[in-house]
Subunit: 130 residues, 2 copies
């Protein structure tokens, strides 16, 4: 491991999740933190009930980084704790809920709007990159 | 929140990372745990030095779930601790290293081979789904 120990340490765009979450307070406002293969990696703080919506052409992954959330589907609910994820298939109506503030990571195609085709007070069409 | 409390709890394919990591011991053997939008979500345990390789057509995201790793590039290194991620752009030669066993989540296009075009003892062409 001599090479490792003697090499200079230059960190190129590594992302620290806790640091990124410390940069914003607002809920239901996904922030863009990574992009690869046409997909976006976003972070969001959520609290309360979101709006029912569907992504017709995007599967959406919710990974809980801190706290607990529920993904409500029309016929069932999925409770997720820290270290758990769930993929909502395209076309499936869903509604995220968090009783207490929770921090989540989202994976979805670039351009995915957080409320799908629904216009809502929290609709974000062009997420801020942090 | 009465609706939530009274609804039945049916968990559809949620993934608990710790539970999945408990299902295997081998290192350098990515396991498939999710698929969305043509991308794969994989979990791997790594320890030691991997082989230098490149993915010509795939960006690859490394998220550290437990422990610490280093992504060596030819001209720099990226040290990642738990809760940090790094995206290796397509075409960039790299080598993951972990001094002590570390647990990582990978996010990359379906069909990405862990050693790129390099044939190696740890090459996995068809990862097991767990």
């Amino acid at each position: 491991m001599a090479r490792l120990e003697s090499s200079s340490v230059i960190e190129m765009n590594k992302i620290n999740l806790a640091e990124k979450f410390s940069l914003f307070d607002e809920t239901w406002t996904p922030k863009l933190v990574g992009e690869l293969n046409g997909q976006h990696v976003k972070l969001a703080k959520i609290k309360g009930e979101f709006v029912w919506h569907t992504h017709d052409n995007a599967d959406e992954m919710f990974l809980v980084i801190k706290g607990s959330i529920t993904i409500e589907l029309r016929d069932q609910r999925v409770d997720l704790n820290e270290g758990e994820f769930f993929i909502v298939p395209r076309g499936v109506e869903h509604r995220p809920i968090a009783v207490d503030e929770a921090h989540i990571m989202l994976f979805e195609p670039a351009g995915t709007v957080n409320t799908g085709a629904v216009e809502y007070e929290f609709t974000v069409r062009d997420p801020e990159r942090i």
